[in-house]
């Protein structure tokens, strides 16, 4: 079995193979970055890393200045000791699972993932080869989390936008500016209604278009002209005056965390749309069952015990690699 260590917030290290996974330390020869969300990008912005072409481009836009060696899905890298292949993770554009094969055995590291995949990602695919050790994120690690189908959520998003506009309100979708924001724009493209997106998300949109995802008729948020358009902003935006000049707005919070009633009161929003870019609890169990690894390592979760409880029931051995989950979904 390949030895797996975790180094606090620095990510995961396979020391025998000198491989780092979403790793920030400088003691690994090969570092693979699963996707361009801040909690997975290296803290050391000058490292040399491997990533898919879209992830590479998104990392650049978000300030990473080290060398990024681009690797396409399904095209393995041989290090002499190991063979590494990236598989599409379905989380956001460019997101990849890292599959490591060696004489010591194999490891699949998910990064963040979602299945069924986000329509604004390259899909989701597991390796055909045997996975000995499976390192999986478990952000939504309780049986209270079960997502609606993409079609249902798309209808909710559409309905919220069109009802608000019909009633004379400007709809605001609060969604994380990389991934969720573009997914919502993609969902809404058929409405042909102008969209304005907050600046931090705006500068990432053309990367999606470059890689073939249509985001519809959009422009950067402009306070003076935003009224009556569909607005997309991160959840912190309303506190900082976003669209505060528009009197009649309705706000929808779009997140996996939007699945409890208390959030509605806390966030003072008009609607909660539980759209997540992670897989739900039951999908997680299904993936584990499908892979039948020797060992499941659970990371990025507040409740490893619960996942382990359910995996035990299925006779799957598991352990906890304690990387704290972040609230950023």
């Amino acid at each position: 079995m390949i030895k797996i260590t975790k180094a606090g917030y620095h990510g995961i290290l396979l020391p025998e193979l000198s491989i780092g996974l979403d790793y920030s330390g400088n003691d690994a020869d090969y570092i693979f970055i699963s996707h361009a969300h801040a909690d997975h990008m290296p803290r050391n912005r000058k490292l040399t890393v491997y990533a898919t072409p879209p992830t590479a481009e998104l990392m650049r836009r978000r300030g990473f200045s080290g060398e990024i060696i681009k690797m396409s899905f399904g095209e393995p890298l041989e290090t002499g000791q190991a063979r590494i292949t990236l598989y599409p993770a379905g989380h956001i554009l460019g997101s990849a699972m890292t599959f490591v094969e060696s004489e010591l055995g194999s490891v699949l590291y998910t990064g963040d993932y979602r299945t069924p995949p986000s329509p604004t990602s390259e899909g989701f695919q597991l390796p055909d080869a045997k996975v000995d050790q499976f390192i999986t994120e478990a952000t939504f690690s309780l049986p209270i989390y079960k997502w609606k189908s993409h079609e249902e959520l798309k209808m909710e998003v559409h309905k919220f936008a069109s009802d608000s506009l019909a009633d004379g309100y400007t709809p605001i979708f609060l969604a994380y500016n990389l991934g969720k924001a573009q997914e919502i724009m993609h969902m809404l493209r058929g409405m042909n209604h102008p969209i304005q997106i907050h600046g931090a998300g705006y500068k990432l949109c053309d990367v999606y278009e470059t890689f073939g995802f249509d985001l519809g008729n959009y422009e950067a948020y402009d306070r003076a002209t935003c009224e009556g358009k569909i607005l997309i902003a991160p959840s912190s935006a309303p506190e900082t005056g976003f669209a505060s000049n528009v009197k009649k707005v309705r706000t929808a919070y779009c997140s996996g965390w939007a699945s409890s009633e208390a959030r509605m009161a806390q966030m003072t929003v008009d609607a909660l749309i539980p759209l997540s870019d992670h897989l739900d609890f039951f999908e997680l169990l299904d993936v584990c069952e499908q892979l039948q690894p020797e060992k499941v390592w659970i990371t990025h979760t507040p409740n490893p015990d619960v996942v382990q409880y359910f995996l035990n029931k299925k006779g799957i051995d598991s352990g906890f690699l304690d990387l704290e989950a972040t609230d950023q979904d």
Binding site: L142, I144, Y145, S260
Partner: protein
């Protein structure tokens, strides 16, 4: 044809998801209007605003949170501690957790199917819970009920059963509003009918049938109590329009009497008759006409009103022993008369009611409060000091020409109270909140210092748990801060490094042997977060003991020259 409970649950969910009180009222009004059957309407209004039973019924389903949670875990075939508890912590509401688990887990899904139960069938289930005792039997009833409901229904079934808020942002006032709107009746008359009947269900039916004017007060149906506002919050301009009474350190009580038939009701309108046999005997001996008194039960011994702490030994004891009766004898002191000889008096002025009350008290030899005229702030001060000397809480100022505003807390009655105590304490534990505060740490265990106390090995021990008194900003600030000082995590509870100091305000100190400190505080709440204090500034257990002793040792003047109440 009786209406389905499912449609009520859907209505409640829509109300929850709708923002704005008027929009919520509109939804409920439409729903009420479409209920053809009277009994359905009665139950729907009651379920939305009161709970499983009408407030005046005095009934409760009496199913504990733990019973519900354990049964739900069994229904899902999951471990309670391992799975249910963390799920509830994440969501912040047990009933919502149950809804989701029932929707998601295959083991639970296999057990329920939509049985399309009617409102009446739901009422019957609550009734069954009321008459059944024992956890096992109650759990069996829950299990059966849940197996015939959708998870959405189960969620609201549980919330209604609790009798608290449905947590849909729709309280009694809104239900009254919706009834008024549904049947196009004047809001004031709907409100009046509700006050009189004490029942939202009856009110809705009266409104539907155009019978609001028939709402009449009946003996042995308790009326909501008139409440007092603290004087600090109300500017009193014309003191001479008020009269003063001493505010007793006792228990509010409404006595309904018709000759030998007597019932006593507490502040929350529960029957407490059997707890106080000496009051029953007292009234029986006098063979009163039909009357309703508002008054106070106090421990009264050797011509002295004794502290509330002693009355507590009698509260909740349904069949007090002879010993208890002789140790803590109680007296009912009347201060208002609400009904006499078939006529409600609450529309009369206080002066008029008082006149009649005094007549009856004279005739039948009953204790009634002393009333004092006041003309100036100095009078208030002097009377206040005298009340404290009697061991009473302070003064009540009552507007002479006010009607009995049942269920209202306005400025017709004002209370002048001794400032309550406060302690400088340190936050020891933070607990995840529920309901509106789900997902935040909103409840805190506060500690006092025992580091120089040879009886303890710890540095701090808990003295109380507080979950209010802070602003939203302060709560956010604390939540931010506790992330950095969390030492350990036990499910929903965080053990914190002692650091954040809180000035804790409370109403009273009571002995409680089951706590580490040996004392508990009554109504503890944040007065201020004291970022300026350090843990070395925390008050000590010795301070608490001293405060308690002071309260007990306070000289209580026997009733003498200027008595708190008159009893010929």
């Amino acid at each position: 044809m009786s209406q389905s409970f499912h449609s009520l649950a859907q209505l409640a969910q829509s109300v929850l998801e709708t923002r704005g009180t008027n929009a919520k009222i509109k939804l409920a009004a439409e729903y009420f209007r479409n209920l053809d059957d009277e009994q359905d309407l009665r139950l729907a209004a009651q379920f939305l605003g009161e709970g499983a039973f009408s407030d005046v019924s005095g009934k409760r389903a009496s199913v504990g949170h733990r019973t519900i949670a354990l049964q739900a875990a069994e229904f899902c075939e999951i471990d309670y501690d391992m799975v249910f508890k963390p799920s509830r912590t994440a969501i912040g509401s047990a009933s919502e957790t149950i809804q989701k688990l029932f929707e998601n887990l295959p083991e639970a899904k296999a057990k329920w199917s939509a049985g399309n139960l009617t409102l009446q069938q739901i009422a019957d289930i609550y009734e069954e819970l009321y008459i059944t005792s024992g956890r096992d039997a109650k759990q069996q009833i829950l299990q059966n009920a849940w197996s015939k409901m959708t998870p959405l229904e189960t969620k609201f079934f549980i919330r209604i059963m609790g009798g608290g808020s449905l947590r849909i942002g729709f309280e009694t006032k809104s239900v009254v509003n919706a009834i008024s709107k549904a049947f196009k009746k004047d809001l004031e008359s709907v409100r009046y009918a509700h006050m009189i009947t004490g029942s939202l269900g009856d009110t809705a039916v009266l409104a539907k049938n155009g019978n609001l004017h028939k709402a009449t007060f009946e003996l042995f149906h308790p009326l909501s109590f008139m409440l007092a506002s603290p004087i600090e919050s109300r500017a009193v301009e014309n003191l001479e329009q008020y009269i003063a009474e001493e505010k007793f350190d006792g228990m509010r009580c409404q006595a309904h009497i018709e000759g030998q038939k007597i019932e006593l009701y507490s502040r929350d309108l529960n029957q407490i008759t059997t707890s106080f046999p000496e009051i029953l005997d007292f009234f029986k001996e006098r063979n009163l006409p039909e009357v309703v008194f508002d008054g106070e039960i106090c421990v009264f011994k050797e011509n002295t009103i004794l502290p509330f702490q002693l009355l507590q030994k009698r509260m909740g004891v349904k069949k007090p022993s002879k010993k208890l009766l002789s140790q803590y004898p109680v007296l009912f002191i009347a201060y208002d008369l609400l009904y006499l000889d078939g006529k409600p008096l609450f529309e009369d002025s206080l002066l008029k009611r008082r006149e009649k009350l005094e007549e009856i008290a004279d005739t039948y030899n009953l204790p009634v409060t002393s009333q004092m005229e006041i003309g100036s702030q100095e009078d208030v001060e002097e009377l206040f000091q005298r009340a404290l000397a009697h061991g009473n809480e302070g003064l009540m100022l009552k507007l002479k020409n006010s009607t009995y505003e049942y269920g209202q807390r306005r400025k017709s009655w004002l209370k002048v109270k001794k400032p309550s105590g406060s302690l400088d304490t340190v936050i020891m534990y933070a607990h995840a909140g529920s309901g509106k505060r789900g997902g935040k740490y909103s409840d805190f265990t506060l500690g006092i210092s025992v580091k120089d106390d040879e009886r303890y090995e710890e540095e701090f021990i808990p003295i109380g748990k507080a979950y209010g008194g802070y602003s939203n900003d302060e709560l956010d600030e604390i939540n931010k801060r506790i992330k950095k000082i969390t030492l350990e995590r036990f499910g929903p509870t965080l053990l914190l490094k002692p650091e954040i100091m809180v000035e804790l305000e409370f109403e009273d100190i009571q002995i409680n042997k089951r706590t580490k400190a040996g004392y508990t505080l009554r109504l503890p709440r944040f007065k201020a977060i004291r970022w300026d204090l350090a843990t070395k500034d925390a008050d000590t257990l010795k301070d608490v003991e001293r405060m308690f002793q002071q309260k007990l040792d306070e000289e209580r003047e026997a009733q003498g020259r200027n008595p708190s109440f008159v009893w010929e």
